[in-house]
């Protein structure tokens, strides 16, 4: 009889049973005591990256993130430059508005949140999550490159992708804003191209690559007077939950507008990012230079604009 087999020819299951019990235990271990497993996860992701990156690049080549046909390179460059300029303009406006609020708060004796400069870092997407239910992206940039949890990931110059959740020495994981567990974000729907008038909305992921949420109608206005329309640009305006480096970045464009089933007078918008976030091949990280990623206000445009 071969060593390790029982008299019936079946494999000896003792060690297998022990392993099954250990795995069952790990399945129900709270995240706070799961650090060792996380370390092995980072190690495995690093070991797989050399083979997953070429496949990932190939996959993004055959199924690009851009929605619709890509324009010629020259026009694309001009469009990106225009988008950056618009971003600067919007950010200046938001900054001016917040400075006004800050003056009021200073006058009231409240604490000041310091100005947070940031640096930019381009990082290729090397893998997705192995689990079907998650849209987490693994990027090839980690603590060795100065990445910290909370760093903002951007695509196509101004499209908000998400933010870094976990960081390994050479890799990081980014949770896109369309991930089912990404949470709510507050945004502005620009009613005109100049961005001088807008509506506020709170968007949550739908699980199909879009975000949706109710539109807040300004005081004194009627829903008929101010309406969100398909195609309008939606920009992040959520200084409480997102760092300054993310403010005014493009969340997407309004895809559809419908009445709220519970309150027909209110509108619900569906917003789709300008690119398919699960298919992007590279992100640009906006990393606050201060270590405290919770600083949320007053991103400095110094060195922060591509």
């Amino acid at each position: 009889m071969a060593r390790g087999l029982t008299s019936t020819g079946q494999p000896r299951r003792r060690w297998l049973s022990v392993v099954i019990l250990v795995l069952l235990g790990f399945t129900f271990v709270p995240p706070s005591v799961n650090r060792v497993v996380q370390w092995f996860g980072d190690l495995t992701a690093t070991a797989i990256a050399p083979v997953s990156h070429p496949f990932s690049a190939f996959a993004r080549w055959i199924a690009p993130a851009r929605i619709g046909a890509a324009p010629p390179a020259e026009i694309q460059a001009i469009e990106e430059e225009l988008a950056r300029t618009k971003l600067l303009h919007r950010r200046s406006e938001q900054r001016a508005a917040r400075l006004e609020q800050l003056i009021e708060r200073l006058q009231g004796g409240l604490a000041v949140i310091p100005d947070v400069p940031m640096s930019l870092l381009a990082a290729p997407v090397v893998a997705a999550s192995a689990d079907l239910s998650s849209e987490m992206l693994t990027i090839r940039a980690g603590a060795n490159q100065g990445v910290a949890p909370g760093a903002v990931a951007v695509a196509d110059a101004v499209q908000l992708v998400g933010r870094v959740e976990t960081v390994a020495p050479a890799l990081s994981r980014v949770r896109p804003i369309t991930d089912p567990t990404a949470g709510l974000l507050r945004a502005r729907i620009e009613l005109d191209g100049a961005g001088s008038s807008w509506l506020l909305t709170q968007l949550g992921p739908d699980g199909d690559g879009t975000l949706s949420g109710p539109v807040a109608i300004p005081d004194g206005a009627t829903p008929e007077a101010v309406r969100a329309e398909p195609g309008m640009t939606v920009r992040l305006d959520d200084p409480e939950a997102w760092p300054g480096a993310a403010q005014a970045l493009v969340v997407g464009a309004v895809e559809s507008v419908s009445p709220d089933p519970d309150q027909p007078q209110r509108q619900v918008v569906v917003v789709r990012p300008t690119v398919r976030l699960e298919r992007i091949s590279e992100v640009v990280l906006r990393i606050p230079r201060a270590t405290d990623a919770s600083d949320t206000e007053f991103d400095s445009d110094r060195g922060g604009t591509p």
Binding site: F28, P31, F58, D131, T138, D179
Partner: protein, 183 residues
């Protein structure tokens, strides 16, 4: 079994799983085929039982380590490992009645194994959601997605069978350990 070749095949299959799989999603759904399941099925259908179980367990652990599930940024060790182990046991039970060396057998067993893994993974996360922390998906629709993904895995199973079956002698699965042989 040639462990070095198995490790190389596992490395490539895991790279395909996290690299190419997102591009094969059906629309904006989470329905996408697996590349690791057909490899696990190939091993389970060809290797001695003990080797098959440990190999599939290793593949499941690797899949667990590579992907945090929805609702968690931390990896959870266990669900896929247990799912792959059960799938391997299923293949061990079925391999005696399968037509040997037929790519369709690998495709069919891949569907069965992927469905088994999907059920176990959803059950584990649902139980974890009740006991530890909330999960980021509703179990019933997620199970539907995974069962449809299991059907889709037949395509990758068929494709990978064309690569893996000729490799059987090289990896150490001789004529006496092919599909249909009882161990």
């Amino acid at each position: 079994m040639n462990r070095l070749l198995f490790a190389l095949l596992a490395w490539i299959a895991l790279g395909l799983e996290v690299g190419l799989r997102p591009a094969l999603r059906l629309g904006t759904t989470g329905i996408a085929p697996s590349f690791v399941i057909p490899l696990a099925v190939f091993i389970a259908a060809s290797a001695p039982p003990r080797t098959a179980l440990w190999s599939c367990l290793a593949l499941g652990i690797a899949v667990d380590l590579l992907g945090p599930a929805a609702g968690s940024s931390q990896v959870v060790l266990g669900p896929n490992a247990l799912g792959y182990l059960l799938a391997a046991q299923l293949v061990l039970a079925l391999r005696g009645v399968m037509v040997r060396r037929n790519p369709l057998s690998l495709a069919f067993l891949s569907v069965m194994a992927a469905a088994t893994t999907g059920v176990v993974v959803v059950a584990c996360y649902a139980a974890r959601g009740l006991l530890i922390d909330p999960i980021g998906f509703a179990p019933a629709p997620e199970l539907g997605t995974r069962l449809l993904a299991a059907l889709y895995t037949a395509a990758t199973g068929l494709f990978m069978a064309l690569v893996l079956l000729p490799l059987a002698p090289t990896i150490g699965f001789g004529t006496e350990r092919r599909f249909g042989s009882r161990r």
